[in-house]
Symmetry: C2
Subunit: 476 residues, 2 copies
């Protein structure tokens, strides 16, 4: 792998190029030889594994089980729910040949699995005793995108998609919101990314949903990213796929369904929220390496320091994910830059003078602060510092979000902020205003935040009486 | 889900139908609406998760990292290694349309990933310092099969595929064998399936490999199943994909590569090795439910027993995966059959008389034995019994394998055993004899078992001097 560290574009001068520089130089991804596809290298895949563990444990604790449904979906199934196929048809990749034969019906590579899962559920569910069905799937999906960007928008991505069926609308809605809360918890507590929770406006809903609930986060360039969504599907899919059950009262009823998803896109958010001009900054809970040890010693000191650093690494392995950088072809300064680029939360430096005093220097990636720590305190100090970094990254991100949030009475006010940030304002509820806003400014309604509607002001676009308080932003 | 338990076909009268009955009635899989595709329901997917955990921990302990490579592979890449494309071309599903456009080059849905990974490795590897590269991927793959069978041969399946690059042939070969040993350990110790280790004959090698190492297991009908394979690829792929590195001596050299895979097929083996006429028998280490508690009490006793069973379940949850069957629509007898069908290792029965004596009855699924256990002993007795079931299932499987293993001097001897079992005999090494054997009897060379060649006897087919001791069997 290319060990020549090159400068990355400053975040402030070209955020978009900075992002691409960081993910390449931090060894997160590589571009595959087919347009739109990326390779998740071990360093980013490990982050995905930590996210998976945190999510999956919570899914299981709330009664969900994992299963696996087919990658390919026959065209007639995909087309059963009218809004759904309309929303996805332009993005589907089609398998038309199997082996050496042309297939009688083309098969979609799943862009999402409501349809194939709906077809199966209709066969599995007969009685109210079969409900609820609480199933999640970890899988790859394909959406044929014109413009792609690693983690944020790629033709293939990894995700989890939950699909549940309930006896009542109430229960399904509770499920939808419970899963949104799990997403919030993992995204805030593990990824250290603050979120705004809300419901999507009609024009921004998932294709086929009654209501889409969303988490919206503010990236470092003032644009919004939808970090996870949870959909209340009502009876749209149960009617399209004939998911019926005989209720306790002897009446045949349609089930109420939900679906909810989160993807490797969250890793893109992680980079854009925390990264700086030196590269990544990873929250310790999802950092593949939490502590890197860099021995500093030349000549005759070299072996002595290295041996001591090995002992330190061994003793810290029980409490943290530790890496000893014993490469002899690089200087300590080069190594400092390298691990800063990769966002390792803590760096321990150890040289002959430190050794003589039984201490080490610890540098925090989040603040740049350097602290001298007695070796005898390391086993308590390292976990403390890791927690401190985790908290500090969240604090900084929250502060950034708050200092880039603006209340507006008229949409033209957004101009003075360069249309970057979270804008809170009133909306009349008409799709005309939403469309006008998008066309004129590129701004969309990210969500109607929880706990803020109904309101009694005036629409920021048309000035007519408003129905909703909305969160506006330019979005990824 | 259909709660009506129907009889399953006896294993001895029609093994093939028995297999299908068991997987359907134990709620392991369902057939998808497209020929050749199956759905892994939660009960089988959970088994896959236990296998994944056991494998993945060992992969990481031996220095491997996970990554993720694209699902689709451009045709020209797939065709770069001549033997490889020849071996897979008839089985590939092709994506020819993306969105509404016909693609300029068709893309293969990966049947395996040597080619796309090789293309990436050639860009990542420059110096001997970049080696070894030790990467694994958990993924879905597609092989367009004519005849399919759940778990054993399906168009799509889940697996892991490891792909490594080494500086020397020796190191690559050590890696190949180390991974084979990890497979052996997990398959024997978790799935309780005994294996024979060996190397494939030339005609049975993976397409593009120098040598394929394999684990072969004997199923309940006397047919063999290849449970995992590990390939020493030599420099075939590094030459096809130009994976070169500058060695310490300043010379540009080709890397030595390996690949190794294991799949959901192992779950098929699990069923066929341990199942009986009552259904599944699951080894405790991979059983989604290790202990089921069935309360027995009618009328006024019902609530009292149920409350007590709840307490028992709660106290056992810390040491085992426990399920309380509190369904009121079924009799205890029905429940016994139901959980036997699903292969739950231990069943705890508790009724008013047991309660009065502070004891429970425990029934073992492996032996059918019933033991009365004092409640105060449960926390020690349950783990003991789970270990005993794990060991006993392996012992029975090993005994079956041994009692169905035969030494033969001439291939016609296999006829008296109905061509069922493991046959050990000599082989001259010619593909002509292997082909003749297969054509006449359906028997193939499963492997050349470790530690048995060279030999000095006569080929069981042509009677010429032999080169190898071979393991022959009819295979899945």
């Amino acid at each position: 792998m290319d060990k020549v560290l090159k400068e990355i574009t400053p975040k402030s001068s070209d955020f978009s190029q900075w992002y691409v520089d960081v993910i390449r130089k931090a060894d997160m991804v590589d571009y595959a030889p087919m347009k739109g596809f990326m390779v998740m290298k071990p360093y980013s895949y490990r982050i995905w594994e930590f996210i998976q563990e945190a999510m999956d444990r919570r899914f299981k604790e709330t009664g969900h089980e994992n299963a696996y449904f087919p990658l390919l979906i026959p065209e007639h199934l995909l087309a059963k729910e009218a809004e759904h196929i309309e929303g996805f048809s332009a993005e589907v990749a089609w398998v038309t040949m199997g082996g050496r034969e042309v297939l009688p019906e083309r098969l979609a590579v799943r862009p999402t699995s409501e349809t194939i899962i709906g077809a199966m559920y209709s066969q599995w569910i007969h009685s109210y005793r079969d409900l609820p069905v609480l199933i999640n799937q970890w899988a790859n999906v394909l959406r044929w995108e014109k413009a792609t960007r690693p983690f944020l928008r790629t033709t293939e991505f990894l995700w989890q998609e939950g699909h549940t069926v309930h006896r009542t609308a109430d229960e399904a809605l509770r499920e939808t919101l419970q899963q949104l809360e799990i997403y919030r918890e993992v995204i805030e507590e593990y990824l250290a990314i603050p979120v705004i929770q809300g419901v999507k406006s009609a024009g921004e809903r998932f294709a086929g949903a009654v209501d889409t609930y969303t988490l919206e986060s503010l990236m470092g360039d003032g644009r919004a990213l939808q970090t996870a969504t949870s959909h209340f599907l009502g009876q749209h899919f149960s009617k399209a796929f004939d998911i019926q059950f005989l209720d306790e009262d002897g009446v045949l009823k349609y089930g109420w369904t939900t679906s909810w998803g989160s993807s490797t896109r969250m890793i893109g958010a992680l980079i854009m929220v925390h990264g700086d001009d030196k590269g990544l900054r990873l929250p310790p809970k999802v950092a593949p390496i939490q502590v890197v040890i860099v021995p500093i010693g030349r000549g005759e000191d070299r072996e002595k320091v290295l041996a001591h650093a090995r002992d330190l690494a061994a003793s810290l392995t029980a409490i943290a994910r530790v890496k000893l950088d014993d490469r002899d072809e690089f200087t300590p300064g080069y190594k400092f830059n390298d691990w800063e680029m990769r966002g390792v939360p803590l760096r321990i430096e150890i040289g002959p003078k430190d050794m003589a005093k039984n201490q080490v220097m610890i540098a925090r990636r989040d603040t740049g602060e350097k602290i001298s720590v007695a070796e005898s305190d390391l086993l308590t100090k390292v976990p403390e510092l890791l927690n401190a970094v985790q908290d500090e990254l969240f604090r900084q991100a929250k502060e950034f979000q708050q200092s880039h949030s603006y209340a507006i009475a008229n949409y033209q006010e957004m101009d003075q902020y360069g249309y970057r940030g979270f804008f809170r304002g009133d909306w009349c509820g008409s799709e005309e205003c939403a469309t006008r806003l998008k066309t004129e400014t590129g701004i969309t309604i990210r969500c109607l935040p929880f706990g803020e509607s109904p309101v009694t002001g005036h629409c920021v676009v048309c000035d007519e009486p408003s129905q909703y308080r909305a969160l506006f932003a330019r979005a990824y």
